[in-house]
Each structure stands twice: as C-alpha cells, then as structure tokens.
Symmetry: C2
Subunit: 562 residues, 2 copies
C-alpha cells in the first residue's frame, strides 16, 4: 500500500514484516476515552490487569434500513495495534490527568505495555457482515485490551458505515455507471474526508475528487472545474494565447477562440436546434474555450452556471466541435443543478442531433456526469424517471452517511480467565452473547449464504452435508435445520500476539474492494433490495443457546414481589 | 494554545508571530479536490492565475431546523493558510496525476506559491452567524484562493455544525447541568472525534471523554468505568488488597470489602428500603469496591450492568457508605440504559432515604449522570417528565450531528479584477450575492441584535441612531427601516497578506467558548426556541440590492419563445 511510507513508528514483531502505523498520525493510544485509563489503573491496583480477557466487537443492527453491512477499517486497526506503545509525553499527560493519589508503579506499567500478548481474530476487510456476529475478537491482558477499545471502535464504526453506504449507492446506480466520491468539503473533518474516499472505494465507487486520498491509497482521481472558474471569465476577448496544436501534432490552429465561435454560429443556424437558445453567456464560452486550451484531451465542462439548455450545452458543443476539428474528442459535461433526468435527456438529444446533422461520429455518446446532493433516493428516482447520465458525483449524503450518521459497533467482554461473561439489559437486543466463539457462514445448494452460526470455541465445527440445528440466540421458537453445501469460517487471525498462529496478510486496497464486490454478488437478492429486504439469519448452536440462557438466569437478580 | 507545539511547519510572516500548522498533520494543500488543480493549471495556462479574486464563504440555511449557527473552525483555517506551501513530494504527485501534456512551468509556479498575497477577513470564531452573510472573505490571486477552497470548507463545515449542535443541546439541557461529550467511538473517523470534542466545548459543553482532545486543547476530561469493568469481576472474594487509608490519613481500614458488605446488609435491613432489592449482583459489588479502592476520592459507579434498582444502586450505596466511614465523599452514579427520568428519580429517593435514615449528610445530593443515545429530543422529553439528572453524557447524536450530518457552506466568487460576479441558479436561494462586501450587525434598544446587513465595500457604513433601509436580497417587497442603537462590524482581518492591516490574534479556546456563550445569551429568545423559531433577518443595503438585480438581468440569458 502507498500509505505504508506515510508515517507511524515501525517495529519488528516476532521477525514478522513491519506493519506501518495508522494512516492518520493522530491515531495514538491517547485517542481513547478517559475511562479506559481509570479502569486500567483500577485493574492494575487490584493486580487484575493481566487477567486474560476476550472481547467481541460487533454491531446490533444493519444501517440505512438495510439487511447487510460491509465490514471495513481492519487494516487501520491492525496498524494501530501493531504499533501500540505509549510515549513518555503521553504518559506524562495521563499522569497529569489522573488523581495525584495514583501510584507511580502504574506509569511504569503503562510504559512497558504493547500488543505483543494480544491476539486478534477478524473477519477480512470488505466482507459482508451481519448483526451480533463478531467482526473482531480481541483477546489479551484485560487492561491492554480495554485501552484498545475506543480507538478500534472509532476506526471501524465510520469505515464500515461509509463502505456500506457506498455499496448501497452502487446497488441503486447499477454496475454500468461510474461512481465518483465528491464529498471532501462536506465531510466530518479532514480524515472524515480521507476515510470517506478510502471506504467508498471499498464499497464500490470508482474514483474520488480527494487528492490526498489519491496519494495515500492510489484511488483514481476525478475532477474538472467549478462554477467559479466559469464566472471568473468575462468574455472570449480576454483569451490571449489562442493557438492549439492538432491532436496528431501535424498542424496548429492559430485562433481556437474564433473556431469555437464559428461553431457556435453554425449550431445556431442548424434547423433542428433552432430556437433552443438565443445568445449564450460569453463568460461561459470563454471559460470553456480556455479550459479546452489547457486540457484538449480531457475536455469536460460544467454546464449549469447560467442556463443549461440555453447557454451551457450550446457553448460546450461549440468548443467540443472545435476540438473535434483538431482531432480531439471531448469527454462530456457535468450537470450540477436542476432536473437532472430531464436535462440529461435533453442534452443527449442535442448531442445526437449534432452527431446526425453535423455528421460528427460518436458525438451523441458524449459522457454526462450528474451531481448535486445525490443519494440513494434521488438515484432511484432518476432510474424511475429515465435518464441519460453515465456518471454520478456523490458527496454530502455519501460521506456524512446523512441517512444514518453512525453505526453502533460495541465491544463487549465475553470471557475472563476462561469464565464466560454476559452483559444483561432490559432490552433483549442489548444482551451480549457470552464465550469465546467460532463463527461460520453456511452456504446452500444455490451457492447463496443461508445463515451465519456462532458456536462455542471447542464445539465441533459445522460440516458440509451434515445437518445442523441453527437457533436464534434469544428467541426460543426460532430455529431451523441446515445442511450446508459449503462452510466458511468467518474470522481469521490477523494479529497472533505471542502465539505461533499464522498471521493473515493485510491485502491491498484493490483486493479488499474486489472481495466486497464479489461477496455482495453472492447474496440472495431479497436480502439486498431497498424496500423491505429479508433479514439474513444469524444463529447460535444448540449448545451455545443453552449456555447463554443458563448464564442469563445465573446473573440476573431475582426480584421480590411486594 | 496547547496545540501549538503539536506539529506543522512554522515560518515567519512579515515579522509577525509564528502561527503553527493545523492540528491534524493530514491537513495539507493536497487535502483538496482534484479540480482545484486542473483549474489552477487552466488559469496558469491562460496567464490568469494572478488575477485578483474575492470569494465569500457562507451557508444558505441554518442547521437542525433552527435559526442560528455557531461559526467555528477559523483557527484551523488560519493555521492552514499561514503554512500553505507545497512540498516537492506533493508537487511530484500532482504532476503524476495531471495529463502529461501539462507544461513544466506550472509545477515551478506551484513550488513558489504561498498565502503571502492572500487576505482573509472573517467573523471571529464562536460567533452566532446567519445564512448568506459571509463567514470568511478570502481575497487573492485566483489560482491560490481556489486551492484553499476545499480545505477551508472542510475545516469550517463540520466545526460549525457540531458547535451549533452542542449549543442546541446546551440550550435544552439548561445552564445548570454538566454536559459531557462522550462521542469518540462513534465519531466519523479519528479527527471527527477530536474535532467533535473541541467544537462541542466551544458550543458550551463542559468536558470530554477524549484524552487526546484533552491533551491538545486543554479540555477537562471525564470518565469512570464501563460495563466490561463490572462484568470482569466475579465476586468480592477475588479482591486481594483490601486495605484503605482514611481520607485524612489518620487510620487504615484493613478490610474495606467487608465494610462495604456490612453496609449492604444494613441497607437491606432498613425499614424504608426493605423490599426494593433481594440479593445484589456480587460481581458488581466486587467491581464497585475495587474501583473505590483505586479512586476513593472520586468514586462514581455505572449502576446498570445488571439491574439499576435491585442491584446497582444498593451496591453503590454500600460502597459509598463505606467510603463515608473513612472520610471520603462518593461522587455519584451513572445510568446508561432504561427509563432515565424514572430511574434518576428513584435513585434520588433512595439516596435521600439513606441520608435521612442513616444520617449521612449530603448523601441525597449524590450526583447522577445519565447517558445512552441522548439528543435534543430526549433531553427535552426528560425535562418534561421531570428528572433528577445532574450531568448528561452525550455521544453519537452530538458528534455525528445525527439530526443533520452536514452544513452546506459554499465558497463563491463575488469579484474578479474589481469586476463583481454573480452565480445564477433556477433556485433563487442559490443565487450568490456579488461584490466585495462589508457586513454589520445592528442592535436595537433592548440590546438584542435586530438584523445583519451587507453593504458594498465603499458605501458609508450604518451609523448609530441613523435610519437605514434594510432590504431582503432577493425579495422586492421585504424591507424595513432600522435605527440601530449599536453597530458591530462582523468581519475582521485575520490574515492581512501583503497589506499592512493589523492581524486579529487567534484567541485561546476558552475565550472562543466564552464568546459563543455570551453571543447566544444576547439573542432574542424567539430566535432560539426549538419549535418554530423566528428567522433572524439578513439584509442588504438599498444600493447593493439594486446592483444585484442589475447584474442578474445582465448575466441571465434571454429565452426565445417558440
């Protein structure tokens, strides 16, 4: 990954290859909740800090009213964990923040800790994931693992949310459209922007406007010009350098400005286009001409600064035709306001008429990009209306996840010193599933995933062609037998700590994106639809079911009737 | 500011004090949209890059259905601008990203630019602001100013949004409550979290859980322990180190665990509390006891891991009473689930009963903190139900601005080479207000702000006691005469560029917060209310009004009827 060289401390971990620090250097062990430190002190004071704890990281509900979630953020977590170490300055700050009564030994302890004794199993990044099934299982000394809680939740919650949002936009837009992430200016802070670019790409977007994300992650960059560019020009008279070499270099047009103006007059005289426009805006014509002179091979113009059909489109076509004379092919237009369905169809008609009338091959296929507060709903509405858009630029609604701005991943203790632990709640959906677990995805005959199942660590795993009972973790009556045609273990070891387990490599971003696209294609379509999707089933083994309910009764206080 | 030492290049700017770089080192000139670079090339190619441009940064609509916005993010913008300079690596990346046909001279140009010729006027950070009135006016060579657009929009949009959200939460909670920002784990990325902490503080929050924000900005830190801490204990038997010195150091309790257990039995035998609980959860009692041993001066317990009234509250009280025996005062409890209004009232009753029955002075005043997906609506509902909560911990809804995840600040060209420019739109609210402007807030007799007015740069400013006509910028019939009792010029020079204007100092965070609180107090209450607030009036001078409409007619293409 390009990001590798960016920053962060590096250290050898059991002779394994060096894992660079998090992309954002602000991701340090202090990027955490204060209570992680008060708890760490309390564990240390009670000599409990090295007790072996197992935590599950999971979410309780899919976002955006859907029935699936894309898991993302793992690479950044592993980079954080691999480099987890307090600096002297950080320890000084913690000392200044905790009560003066805290003993010095605690700070010596903090100085010494890292994640060499922490073990992390995780679902690979870019996987389709479902509620309650752990995305990460983190095992290690309780004080250390708790210090990881806040940063890894922060790194996963938004990453998974925005990947899921991107996947949903891709689903509505369809495979053939180009999807561009344009959200940096409206994102929730600088790396809200950088994260959005990275994780939208994982979720199926094709490119970003964010230059820094391009540099860090190798994501393709896109962008042309703004309204301000257009209105910064007054008239074509101000263009001084007017010459343009032909595409093959064989000749030079000495006055490209006049060439474009000539074409504008020709279009105006065209029988079929007559009456669509009067005088077009001259500052716009100047801007388009100037932009084409700078980028003759990639001329794409924003056509709605003054009036799309009366000014933007004819001005664009005039410049595109002038380029065509010199052997260049214009790329197309961008619409950023108004009725995008209608305008894209009108623009297409205009382009086709020019192709036919003026005999310019392929002019009708000119690319049309649309932007302006697009989201799942507006994409869906555009599809229903019928449109001629080839590419969508999506910003605010994508990157801020406007429809649901947070994913509620939690990090729950499920075992300590080999003792299973449960967190109860009045709200059944908030009760945690105890025990160190293994998780499997069972596939049916048609190749679709049928159900995810969690089992206790030492239970025999589900086997292909062997019937297994899958139980809803909390609802007694919900259960089903499944005969899987394929069994996939969901979590792999991404950080073996002091064990000799093999460490899964962190794949390049492109592979994560491919994994995401492939996994989504494998899903049964009724889980994917926007309206009333069918919930995908998540279950526990019969043995785990019994154990959960035994523990529940054991921990819940018994009331006394009065 | 603490942040000063954190990072970023430093350079002398006309002998003025050095301004450090942005808090987040990822805020570089590449944190920008790709089109800023294609435009910059196009300006440069047309020898237009040094034309003097003026841009207004403003928003069109207040967020959250309200009628005010808090402006924030200025300090980070000025830090960015003061240190704006491309590195060789950055230029190499831009070269690799632009078409190969782009001329080398452009990269030499990029290498040379900085903001020494850019001038920034801005509303002071922490001010109450309204739609259409520029928050920033940025003037300078057009190519440079456009390169600033995306990063400064990114730095201001979320900052202002979350400050406003915090101010709204403060408004509903009331002045007397303690407001704690607990959102890091759900924030949109690492500095979504750090930004949320900083800007919630500006908007009126009192403290944060985010340790790094505490270190960077000096914001007070808060936090105690989690559910996992509670369930990590099995029983009081596991506590090895049981002794606790009395508060004054005069004696030592050798078995604090037994002391707490004795108090639990006493509470259970109390006539008034009889029947409220049976056996409390022993792992919870162990956790509370252990936490109190670590923090005897600041014991605050999370009481809802198993059952608030049947287990959490009696366990807490037992430990608090044991601490009381040794001269310590427990701080209180935190509720994180269930009916917070009801539970806080029940807890308060329990505390008061203990104060009375067991004659423990002030026990009834024990602090009650509430958390669990709180937002404006739930705070309002709690107020209506009646509650006994002293402090609110607010996370997801605050930091992700869940009710409206983006503020739509825009950056529009209003003048180039002293020529006013306008951006038209089918949607009147999207038409930009041309010209370099001055902006004033006019105050009435009662001391309230009455109206903001924008004038052309060279118009005589409004004067105290002199009647002035204030016109709606786009609605012909909306206008009013105002006789201001006080006139405040809104924008000040925060970056003088090559001029000899005095530069406004960047105030410390605490002063920004104070400004915000004071400005909010000055507002008429009908602008502030949650339901159907009265819009605050924003106007232009008669002269500017006429000019806008002259320019509009001039630029809009005239259609031809068919």
């Amino acid at each position: 990954m390009e990001a590798a060289k960016a920053n962060g401390p590096k250290k050898e971990q059991n002779q394994r290859p060096v894992i660079p620090g998090p992309t954002n250097p602000m991701v340090t062990p202090l990027l955490s909740d204060f209570y992680q430190f008060t708890m760490a002190y309390s564990y240390w004071k009670a000599a409990k800090h090295n007790e072996r704890a197992v935590f599950d990281l999971y979410f309780r509900k899919n976002p955006f009213g859907g029935e699936y979630t894309i898991f993302a953020g793992l690479e950044e977590c592993i980079r954080f964990i691999a480099n987890f170490k307090f600096t002297a300055e950080e320890i000084a700050f913690i000392r200044a923040s905790l009560p003066k009564t805290c003993e010095d030994g605690f700070y010596d302890y903090l100085r010494g800790i890292d994640c060499s004794d922490v073990e992390v199993h995780a679902v690979p990044e870019g996987s389709v994931a479902f509620p309650k099934v752990p995305l990460l299982i983190v095992e290690g000394p309780i004080a250390v693992v708790q210090l990881l809680e806040t940063p890894i939740l922060n790194l996963i919650n938004y990453a998974s949310l925005v990947s899921t949002n991107a996947a949903r936009h891709r689903f509505v837009a369809g495979k053939s459209k180009l999807l561009l992430e344009f959200g940096l200016r409206r994102a929730q802070g600088p790396d809200g922007g950088i994260g959005a670019s990275k994780y939208s790409y994982i979720g199926g977007f094709d490119a970003t406007s964010n230059v820094e994300a391009g540099r860090l992650f190798g994501i393709p960059l896109r962008g042309t010009h703004s309204h301000a560019f257009v209105s910064s020009f007054m008239s074509p008279d101000e263009i001084v350098e007017k010459s343009l070499k032909s595409h093959d270099g064989s000749s030079t047009c000495e006055d490209f400005v006049s060439l474009a103006q000539t074409w504008l007059s020709k279009i105006k005289r065209s029988h079929s286009l007559h009456g669509i426009f009067g005088e077009t805006n001259q500052s716009e014509l100047a801007a388009f001409t100037s932009y084409a002179l700078a980028f003759p091979n990639s001329f794409l113009a924003l056509v709605d600064t003054y009036d799309v059909m009366r000014s933007g489109i004819p001005n664009f076509c005039a410049v595109a035709l002038a380029l065509n004379d010199l052997g260049y092919k214009a790329v197309g237009i961008r619409l950023d306001s108004g009725d995008l369905a209608y305008l894209s169809c009108e623009a297409r008609k205009f382009f086709r008429t020019i192709e036919k009338e003026l005999r310019v091959p392929d002019f009708g296929k000119m690319s049309i990009t649309a932007s302006n507060d697009l989201n799942e709903e507006t994409l869906d509405a555009l599809n229903k209306q019928g449109h001629e858009v080839d590419a969508f630029g999506i910003g605010t609604y994508l990157v801020t996840c406007y429809a649901q701005a947070a994913l509620g991943c939690v990090f729950k203790l499920v075992e300590i010193n080999n003792q299973p632990r449960i967190k109860l709640s009045e709200d059944v959906s908030k009760v945690s599933i105890p025990c160190r677990k293994r998780c499997f995805r069972l596939y049916g005959k048609e190749g679709y995933p049928l159900v995810d199942i969690m089992t206790g660590e030492n239970e025999p795993p589900p086997k292909v062609s062997e019937r297994i009972l899958c139980r809803h973790p909390f609802s007694e009556s919900k259960r089903a037998y499944v005969v899987p045609q394929r069994v996939e273990e969901l979590l792999k070891c991404f950080w073996p700590g002091s064990t000799d387990k093999a460490r899964e490599e962190l794949p390049p971003l492109k592979d994560i994106r491919d994994r995401c696209i492939k996994q989504l294609e494998l899903m049964r379509s009724d889980h994917m639809r926007r309206l009333n999707p069918t919930p995908y089933k998540v279950s526990v083994s019969a043995k785990l079911y019994d154990f959960i309910h035994f523990l529940w009764l054991n921990e819940a206080p018994v009331g006394e009737l009065q």
